[in-house]
């Protein structure tokens, strides 16, 4: 049974190693789907509904078809169909230039009969609201869960808190918008450059769609600019591109506009929780009663975690979805967790205050995770928890500082389904190939590290090929923080097998048994006689015309699921302007074995920044008057920039020597930590995200 060995024995694993593709990315050499241009390629665009709800009465494509340079126009809906959200697809155009395609869209005649719409949860749930899907009152049947005895719990409670917490819809804001370049090499063979987080998922989807064998679709994603859960499938735009390619016989590039990206490429659903909770005088959470909902647009799936992390014996929850005329939700980095954490961690602080307890102590009492107990100690020390205001809002001056804490949890244990191949060539070169993709977390580098560690080489010696279904070595989508934990065991065992094969070639030369051979730095030596060695290139030279090429296997013992995390925030609130500046985040993230400490830290940094954006800036703004999203851009949909990013102390809290993914969890505890820090600073609680100056000033005015 394989193991990752002791930390002291690792030459590379667990060290801070620069991302292999880093230089290519910062110099622009790295090619993303957006950068792919094929000979004879056409540019495609999609005409989308401007309105939130309408019946299609008529579509006339003829004027667009007649525009010089247009090679195909294709309807994506038909008369009689109902469009149910802004951005829904109406027709697509392929043209010789992107500008012509854009012009052609404006020549498509569409007659719509507008229908009453609801774009906010409040409007959807209002009496006499138009019913927009098969849910009475636009509300799904609630899921009700009850455990313990809630009534008895409240009777035991010394203090109770009743509050409503709200997080609005957030969009993914992938820097590279969704899109594809599609090319039929013949009637039955399709090549797709896709900005995706699931190369094989996209391959299989296209194969089904066009009814061709899966191995006749090749999907390539050498680099991609962010997915966060929104890029698992080709979507309408992918299918449309391939169809237009088929019609025109030419490669097609179809990338979404920024506006469409906000409207149709997924989002994190909203959350509203009406919660009542109680704690006993000795600080135990004893009762929790929550009724809550969210909107995932026209689709369902607006779930969230409640209660979260902390244990409550007696609890009742009732959750439902609200339908609105807006684009579908999709998985987004730790679906359901950040918004749940915001509500729960806010609630925890509100209860602690009523009990007169330090919120950290209150958490300790109610948190059964030993890992997080240790993280609380470490994080509190790092942020200087003793400096916080014991009385919230008690700081003097215009700019008030405060501190808060929040928690999170995740799985990330990986799973079966990855095939990989490690090849050692006679010239000493080594290749590692698998069908995973680098969503941005640095799996390419992690693979190189694992193989190089096993073979006594440097990561830069390993040629890693990922993001291509061509070699036929499948791997799963990059979701659930599963990539590294799924891929690492297979790569590791493949490298071990390849090493073993090489030893078999070398053993006769060294006149030693295979199991007495060991790998050194670019050498192979005999364990019982360390002077008996060959260099790496001498060894591989023995292969002659052959190569060693070995597969790996899923090994449960090399990975483990379940991580805990906690974050501490220090903020400064300008009480005259309402502006919240985050000064520092201490993020303590349980992660198992960090294959590459540097990219693990990057993951934590990225999660913190995304969590900060959700806490302080981001909100999809839907206009009840017009049914439009008013901020489908990057001007009024605000994501953190350099001014917003605080000092981040990312602490890789490695608790064991098995691989666990941490792509998602670091974005979870940030929300509660910042929200609680704002409260600690100003003594007024903001229960609605994002915490923008208008809300802070309004809350301060209400307090005064």
């Amino acid at each position: 049974m394989a193991s990752w060995g002791e930390a002291s024995q690792s030459r590379l694993i667990g060290k801070r190693i620069t991302r292999l593709s880093g230089k290519d990315k910062v110099t622009g050499k790295a090619k993303y789907t957006y950068d792919i241009n094929r000979p004879g390629m056409l540019f495609a665009r999609i005409l989308r509904s401007d309105v939130a709800h309408a019946t299609v009465m008529d579509i006339d494509l003829s004027r667009a078809e007649a525009l010089p340079g247009v090679q195909a126009v294709m309807p994506l809906t038909e008369a009689g169909r109902i469009l149910r959200y802004q951005g829904q697809e109406i027709a697509a155009v392929a043209a010789e230039t992107d500008d012509i395609a854009k012009d052609a869209l404006r020549l498509i005649f569409v007659e719509l009969e507008e229908l009453p719409f609801v774009v906010t949860e409040a409007d959807a749930m209002a009496e006499n609201a138009p019913q927009i899907r098969d849910w009475e009152g636009n509300q799904s049947n609630p899921g009700i869960n009850e455990q313990g005895d809630v009534k008895a719990g409240f009777e035991e409670a010394a203090v109770t808190v009743e509050a409503t917490y709200h997080a609005p819809v957030q969009t993914h804001v992938c820097l590279e918008t969704h899109g594809h370049v599609t090319e039929w090499t013949d009637e039955q063979n399709l090549t797709v450059w896709a900005s995706t987080q699931a190369v094989f998922g996209v391959r299989n989807d296209f194969a089904r769609r066009f009814d061709i064998p899966a191995n006749q679709v090749r999907v390539i994603t050498e680099h991609m600019g962010g997915g966060f859960g929104s890029k698992f499938g080709p979507g309408v735009e992918g299918h449309t591109a391939a169809q237009l390619s088929r019609i025109t016989g030419k490669p097609i590039k179809l990338m979404l506009t920024r506006k469409a990206e906000h409207l149709v490429a997924g989002n994190r659903p909203s959350m509203t929780q009406h919660v009542k909770a109680g704690a006993s005088s000795d600080g135990r959470l004893v009762a929790y009663d929550m009724r809550g909902y969210g909107t995932g647009g026209i689709s369902s799936g607006a779930g969230f975690q409640a209660p979260y992390v902390y244990h409550v014996e007696n609890r009742k929850t009732e959750k439902f979805n609200v339908a609105t005329n807006a684009g579908n939700q999709r998985a987004m980095r730790a679906p359901g967790h950040p918004q749940g954490a915001f509500a729960m961690d806010s609630l925890m602080d509100e209860l602690a205050e009523k009990l007169g307890m330090n919120p950290l102590e209150f958490r300790r009492i109610n948190d059964s995770s030993e890992v997080r107990q240790a993280q609380y100690t470490l994080g509190a020390q790092e942020i200087g928890w003793h400096r916080r205001n014991t009385v919230p809002g008690s700081g003097t001056g215009v700019k008030k500082r405060g501190m808060g804490v929040g928690s999170g949890q995740w799985g990330g244990g990986g799973g079966r389904g990855t095939q990989a191949r490690v090849t050692i060539n006679a010239d000493g070169t080594v290749e590692a190939v698998t069908g995973t993709q680098d969503i941005g977390t640095g799996i390419r580098t992690a693979i190189a590290i694992i193989v190089a560690e096993e073979l006594g080489l440097a990561p830069t010696d390993i040629s890693v090929k990922v993001g291509d279904s061509g070699p036929g070595l499948p791997s799963g989508g990059s979701g659930g923080s599963q990539t590294t934990a799924s891929v690492a065991p297979v790569i590791k065992t493949a490298a071990m097998a390849a090493k073993q094969k090489l030893f078999e070639h070398v053993a006769p030369l060294l006149k030693a048994p295979v199991d007495d051979l060991r790998i050194g730095s670019r050498t192979i030596y005999v364990a019982s006689d360390r002077t008996n060695t060959v260099t790496w290139n001498q060894a591989t030279g023995l292969l002659g015309q052959e190569s060693i090429s070995e597969g790996g296997n899923w090994d449960q013992e090399l990975r483990q699921g379940g991580v805990a995390g906690t974050q501490f925030a220090e903020v400064e609130v300008d009480t005259q302007t309402g502006h919240v500046k985050v000064l520092k985040i201490v993020a303590v993230q349980d992660c198992g074995l960090a294959i590459n400490r540097l990219t693990t830290e990057s993951q934590i940094n990225g999660g913190v920044i995304m969590g900060l954006g959700q806490t302080l800036l981001e909100e999809r703004i839907m206009d009840p008057q017009t049914g439009r999203m008013l901020n489908a851009n990057l001007e009024d949909y605000k994501v953190p920039g350099t001014y917003e990013i605080p000092e981040i102390k990312s602490i890789v809290f490695d608790t064991h020597r098995k691989v666990t993914g941490v792509g998602e969890p670091p974005c979870i505890p940030t929300l509660g930590a910042i929200a609680n820090a704002v409260y600690n600073a100003i003594g007024v609680r903001i229960r609605e995200l994002p915490i923008t100056p208008d809300k802070v000033l309004t809350a301060l005015a209400e307090k005064a």
């Binding site: 401007d50 309105v51 215009v398 005259q576 302007t577 309402g578 502006h579 800036l617 703004i621 206009d623 009840p624 008057q625 017009t626 439009r628 008013l630 901020n631 001007e635 009024d636 605000k638 953190p640 920039g641 350099t642 001014y643 917003e644 923008t692 100056p693 208008d694 809300k695 000033l697 309004t698 005015a701």
Partner: protein
């Protein structure tokens, strides 16, 4: 965007003559293009011809002498922000320019463009929404989502003027030189901007065949302290939720004259005479500065979502006044 022809400008005479061939929108001028290009891409404007002003000679420099500043309309925002004399003696202007957008935009955006930029209102910027500003029936902000809209002077269009430089220039009592077919004229920058009650479709008095040529700023009195405060949700790039351009002539801690012009709160840069009166002749302290803020907003008329701007504006004015007496 729609197709357009592109003409390089050779002289002001040629430009104003070309412009005289049409009304608004058919022939438009472009310099840095940081605002206009977005309008073209969103089909908010669909001109047939663009006149490239960057080829006009002699309009892109700053001259400073004892009488004051002359800044050509084609001077970039970055040059204004980084000019040592402006930083030292016209601090409010340098600070306002430095607060604009991002380095990339400041490097190409021009003074003239900054003053003539169009509103950022999310209803106005959506091609598919026919709002009053674009000739429709309704200012959607009145009943709609108005977080970023006007609390002063809105009726009937509740946009806010997005310029940071304009409030600074008005506070410095600057003038603006405008060329038209009949020659040049110079008016106060303050008179350049108009409110929607006068013209709901435009934000200034320029005729379709006129062009901003230059801005002239008188040399402030040596006892002047000036500053620009801007509050935005995001550090950059973001427009002001509210801003204050303050120019104070001080004698010790006593304010001899105060010039307070607000940005981000009205369809034009908004001079607060109430705040000015509350400060003039007073020894500046907490209660005087607080009073100035209160006076400034007593006639504010917030919409559904922007009540906070009243508090914010009040606080910013108080802060600006206190900063006038701090080191």
């Amino acid at each position: 965007m729609e197709k357009f022809s592109y003409v390089n400008a050779t002289s002001l005479k040629q430009v104003t003559s070309l412009l005289s061939d049409s009304g608004w929108g058919e022939i438009m001028m472009i310099a840095g293009g940081t605002d206009l290009l977005a309008e073209l891409k969103e089909y908010i404007e669909t001109p047939k011809t663009l006149i490239n002003l960057k080829t006009l000679p002699g309009m892109d420099s700053i001259s400073a002498d004892a009488s004051g500043l002359k800044i050509g309309a084609l001077t970039t925002v970055a040059e204004i922000a980084m000019h040592p004399t402006i930083q030292q003696h016209y601090t409010v202007l340098a600070q306002a320019a430095a607060s604009v957008a991002t380095p990339q935009i400041r490097n190409v955006g021009t003074l003239g463009g900054n003053l003539c930029q169009r509103p950022r209102c999310w209803y106005y910027r959506d091609e598919t929404i026919s709002c009053l500003k674009k000739g429709g029936d309704l200012c959607y902000a009145v009943e709609g989502l108005s977080k970023y809209h006007a609390i002063f002077g809105g009726d009937p269009v509740y946009i806010v003027h997005p310029s940071d430089i304009a409030p600074a220039l008005i506070a410095l009592n600057a003038s603006i030189k405008i060329a038209g077919p009949e020659g040049e004229k110079t008016i106060k920058v303050e008179e350049f901007f108009t409110l929607p009650a006068a013209n709901p479709f435009r934000e200034n008095v320029l005729e379709p065949n006129e062009i901003v040529v230059e801005v002239q700023v008188p040399n402030p009195n040596p006892n002047t302290k000036s500053l620009y405060l801007k509050v935005r949700e995001k550090g950059a790039p973001d427009f002001a939720l509210a801003s204050v351009a303050g120019v104070f002539e001080m004698m010790g801690k006593t304010c001899q004259t105060a010039s307070i012009v607000l940005g981000g709160v009205a369809p034009a840069p908004w001079r607060s005479t109430d705040a000015e009166t509350a400060l003039t002749g007073k020894m500046i302290n907490d209660s005087v500065s607080t009073k100035a803020g209160e006076e400034a907003v007593k006639n504010a008329q917030p919409l559904n979502d922007n009540e906070y701007k009243v508090t914010l504006t009040q606080n910013l004015i108080s802060r600006a006044a206190m900063m006038a007496v701090s080191k």
